[in-house]
Each structure stands twice: as structure tokens, then as C-alpha cells.
């Protein structure tokens, strides 16, 4: 039969890609799982004994573990809130006809092209520095005490930097969604007596729901593994105040050369990411059905 024949051909054609993907994902995952069950320390090359779940116990009982977990979600929630709300606001502004539309849109999008390490360093040294930073200068102009952002509010500072980098992405996606909204729907709502706010709540926001779900999903994937910004600014500190899960794994593997418990940490992160992913896929799936 033609269909089974094409089905077989299709599978054959797909197989190199699938095999590569499988290799690419399954092998590192299996190796991580393997290492996580062994005592594997780079500083003590004494043979890698099987230790069962000991690495997991060690990682999960780390005093920094729960804080890093909380930090991971605090960062995620903070950045998502700023980018989604700010993105909707900016998209609404940019959707209005104005002079120099092309230039303005380009400017709004540009932060997305700045490398995370570069933008984090710029924020750290030029804005948040308590002596030379712009924020400190502004505080002084108003006669206030300069805040040492990275020391006094490390998590908030990181949230701001990361949100700045992701805001253009959210704005862009939401703007395209906004432009696909049927003008007659807005006019119908206007004639039905809906004021601007009611039109936003009842027409625009439901129309944007799908785009918002996509923004949340994509950003979550990247934000769970947030690392570069932390490394170049706070180093997870002061103490562990700005350590997230990814950074905790790093500080354990590189700073302690303990591959075994770092792998266990990696597995924990994978499990958490998957739990979150299930919820997100539900959310997005429900929205994509329409």
C-alpha cells in the first residue's frame, strides 16, 4: 500500500536525525546518571566506587540546596512577570502608528542581541556599582545613600538585568500577535460599549493568551539554566543569596571537583525542569488548541 510504503520511507528518512538527537541527548543523560551513582572526585583519583544514592543525599541535604531552589523560582517568576507585563505594555505602545516606527522597533529589539555576559557586566559596572554607577549618581543627586545593588539586593539586581535582556523577545512576540488582531473585532467591541480598558481585558488579552503562553514556555526553558549573568556579577553571593540550581551544580563540580555529586545535582535539576515542563505544556497545549 502506498501509505505504508511512504510511512516506512518517511521513518527511514527521519532516522538519521532521530538517531543523532537520541545520541545527543540520551548519552550525556545516561552518563550523568551513571556518574551520579558513583564516588567520582577529580582531586582523589582512587577509582570510582559505586555509592548508590549517597551523592543525592549529599546534594539534597546541602544547606544551600533549598535556597538555590527558591532562588531559581524567584528569578524565574520575577523575570517572567517583568517581561510579560512590560512586553504587553511595550507591544501596545509600539502597535500605535508613529514617526520613526522602524528605528524605534529596532532599538527596542536590540538588547536581545547583546551577549548575556556583556550586558551583565555593563549593568554591574556602569549602573549598579555603588561608587561609579549611574544609579548611585542618581541617588546622590537626590541626596540619598547609594545602594550597593549586588550586595544588598543580589537577586533583585539579577532579575532586573535578565529581564532587560529578555524584554525585547517578549515584546517582539507579543507585538506580532497584537498585529494579527482583527480590527473589526475591536470596532465591534467599541460599538458594543466597551471602553479602552474593557476592550483590552475582553478582546486584546484573550487574543494574546497564546503568545503569552509561548513567551512563558520559551523563557522558562532558558531561565531555569540561568548561569552566565550570575557568574560574572555576584558569583552566587553574598553567601549563597543569589545561587540558583545551575550555579550550585557549577560551584560543586568546579570548585570542589566533585563530579559525582554535581551529576546528582544535575539529575535533580532535570527532574525539576520536567515537572515544570509538564505544567507548562498543559498551559500551552490548552492555549494552542484554539
Amino acid at each position: 500500500m502506498a501509505s505504508t510504503h511512504t510511512g516506512a520511507t518517511a521513518r527511514l528518512m527521519l532516522s538519521p536525525a532521530v538517531a543523532l538527537l537520541l545520541l545527543w541527548m540520551a548519552v550525556p543523560l545516561a552518563m550523568t546518571l551513571w556518574y551520579s551513582l558513583h564516588d567520582y572526585q577529580l582531586l582523589m583519583p582512587r577509582g570510582n566506587d559505586f555509592v548508590g544514592l549517597e551523592n543525592y543525599v549529599y546534594f539534597l541535604t546541602d544547606p544551600a540546596f533549598f535556597q538555590s531552589l527558591a532562588n531559581t523560582f524567584a528569578l524565574l517568576a520575577g523575570v517572567l512577570a517583568i517581561t510579560v507585563i512590560g512586553g504587553v505594555g511595550l507591544a501596545l505602545l509600539l502597535d500605535r502608528p508613529m514617526h520613526g516606527q522602524g528605528i524605534v522597533r529596532l532599538l527596542v529589539v536590540s538588547p536581545f542581541f547583546v551577549m548575556p555576559t556583556v550586558s551583565a557586566l555593563v549593568w554591574k559596572n556602569m549602573f549598579m556599582n555603588p561608587v561609579n554607577g549611574l544609579f548611585a549618581w542618581i541617588a546622590q543627586v537626590f541626596g540619598m545613600r547609594a545602594i550597593d545593588w549586588l550586595a544588598e539586593a543580589p537577586l533583585l539586581s539579577l532579575t532586573l538585568m535578565v529581564a532587560w535582556g529578555w524584554l525585547p523577545f517578549a515584546t517582539l512576540i507579543l507585538l506580532t500577535a497584537l498585529q494579527s488582531l482583527d480590527a473589526e473585532q475591536k470596532e465591534a467591541a467599541e460599538m458594543d460599549g466597551a471602553n479602552a480598558f474593557a476592550r483590552f481585558i475582553h478582546i486584546t488579552l484573550p487574543h494574546l493568551a497564546r503568545a503569552i503562553a509561548v513567551v512563558i514556555l520559551i523563557q522558562t526553558i532558558f531561565l531555569l539554566s540561568l548561569f552566565a549573568e550570575i557568574l560574572v556579577t555576584t558569583n552566587g553571593g553574598p553567601g549563597t543569596q543569589s545561587t540558583n540550581l545551575a550555579y550550585l551544580v557549577y560551584s560543586q563540580t568546579l570548585l570542589r571537583f566533585d563530579v559525582g555529586s554535581a551529576s546528582a545535582g544535575g539529575m535533580v535539576a532535570v527532574v525539576l525542569a520536567n515537572i515544570l515542563a509538564i505544567f507548562l505544556m498543559r498551559l500551552v497545549g490548552k492555549n494552542l488548541e484554539r
Binding site: 473589526e184 473585532q185 470596532e187 460599538m191 460599549g193 466597551a194 471602553n195 484573550p206 493568551a209 484554539r290
Partner: protein, 334 residues
Amino acid sequence: MASIALKNVSKSFGGREVIASLDLQIERGELVVFVGPSGCGKSTLLRLIAGLEDVSSGQLLIDGRDATQLPPAWRGLSMVFQSYALYPHMSVRDNIAFPLKMARRDKETIERKVTEAARVLNLQDYLDRKPRELSGGQRQRVAIGRAIVREPVAFLFDEPLSNLDAALRVNMRMEIAELHRQLGATTIYVTHDQTEAMTLADRIVVLNAGRVEQIGPPLELYRRPATLFVAGFIGSPRMNLLGGAAASRYGAATIGIRPEHLSLSTSEGRWHGKVSLAEHLGSDTFVHVDVAGLGTIAARAAGDLDVRHGETLWLTPDESCLHRFDAQGRALAA
């Protein structure tokens, strides 16, 4: 119910005049149809009345009160859009209830009115569906339902049937006529289809390139077209328009004669030619005859007339039904 008056209303988009200064009086309970070819400004005129566009100059009166500067929601008009503009994420019930919710009516009133509208429009079984789960005709009804629940002073329809197939269009046309009889509300209906205009209207406004060609009841437009444009636009099949010597004989630049005002003969008459096409519709036969020097002329004959392609026929116009137009396309007095 309200009367609507346009006084010297005009509209330009960036210097290009789309509606030239226009006067129109629409009486209470009247069904007025704006008809004209695509791009002639029908939608723009309707949107001016709705308040979705601002007039460039002139005045709009609703029930004698100046409404030129009123925002759309305050004019008390309901509009049914060509695309229906249903809210896709809301159920049929919520779509119909939306104007009432916006007007902050209480729950019982909303429920009662939505149920009543659903009954009138035969939508009871679909109230919990989303618009995308409905057929074109049902969507159309939901859009009408949303328009009637707020009990507007007038209804505005913008080509409401153009997205439906031919059979459904005839049905919905009758339903809209029936609805207008029931509600007795002032209605403005926009279409490019002269059949729709003829069957629905109390009065027709024929528009051409942003100008009013003629205003009047359907039969008056049919019997006494004021311009060449109206003569050619109203009536199906079209009126035969002849220029040259045939027209100057009657002291006109162009003469028009409708197919039903030509008598046919196989032996004698004014003009003769070969039959190029005979459309047998059952009740009538429309015969297209190629007359040398005049072009193709359509004539109506009895349904049982047996003519074939290539036969020679003679045509004679009923001179009392002849329309005469001057060089500017204006009708000359009979």
C-alpha cells in the same frame, strides 16, 4: 427607533475624497439600502454613521440631535460587520451577552434577553459553542443576535451576506426582512448586490464613486432611473443601452430599453439579428440577439419559446418604456 439625517457629510482619506458632500434623510423604521459597485464608499459611509470614522465635514443627526462628535457607543447603533467580528474566545452566549455586560445590566436581564434573542434566531442549541464551531449562517445569526440584544435605535449591516453561499444568502435575506418586520427598527443595509437591494429595501441609495446617483423606492429606481449609471446597475438582466443613430432618432445620446420591453418576432420588427444565446430559465427565456451596428441586445420571451443559436429574430421596443439619457448620462424627461 430613530431617524438619521446626514447634512453635507463628506469624507477624505489623506486628501483623497471618498465621500463627496452628501445629504440623506432616513425615517424611523425605514430599511434603507446603500448599493453600488465595490470601492464606491458604501462601507465608509456606514462607518461614518457608526462613528468608526470621523466626518471630514458636515453633520450627522440622530433623532434630530447632533451626533457628529459622539463616540460610537453613545450613538445607540448596532452594527453587523462583513466578517461578523465575533469574539473567538467567547461562547455564543457570551458573544450575545457582551453588549449587555458592557452596559452593566443585571444577570437576570442578560439571561432573559440572550434566551429571547437565541429563540428568535434559532440558536438555542448552540449557545455553549465557540464561533469557530458554527457554520457561516449560524455565525451570521450570532452577529445579528449580538446586535439586537442592546435594542439599538438603528441597525447597520455591512454586506452581511457576502460570505454565505447562494442558497443560504436567499434564506438569510428573507430572515433579515422578517426580522425587520418584527422589530420595525430603522435599518441601514450595505450591499453591492442589486438583487439584495431590490428585495429588501424600502428605499435604495445608489452610490457611485462616492456620490449619490439616485435615492428612491426600488420600483421607482427600476421604472425611472435618473442616470445612466442607475439604469445599468439596477435590474437583472441589465437594461440594454444603445448609443449612436438608434439613440439620436429619439433625440438622446443614449437610450435604454429593458429586456421585458422588447417584443420578438420571426418575420418583422425594428432591429434584426442572429441569436447568440438563449437562456431557458423555465418561466422565462432570455434571448441575446447580435444586432449589426448595435451590439448584443437581451430580450425576455415566454418560457416555452423555442429558439436556437443562429436563428434570425426581429426586435421591436415598446416606445412608452424607452429611457432616454443626455450626453452627461442624465435622464431626459419622457
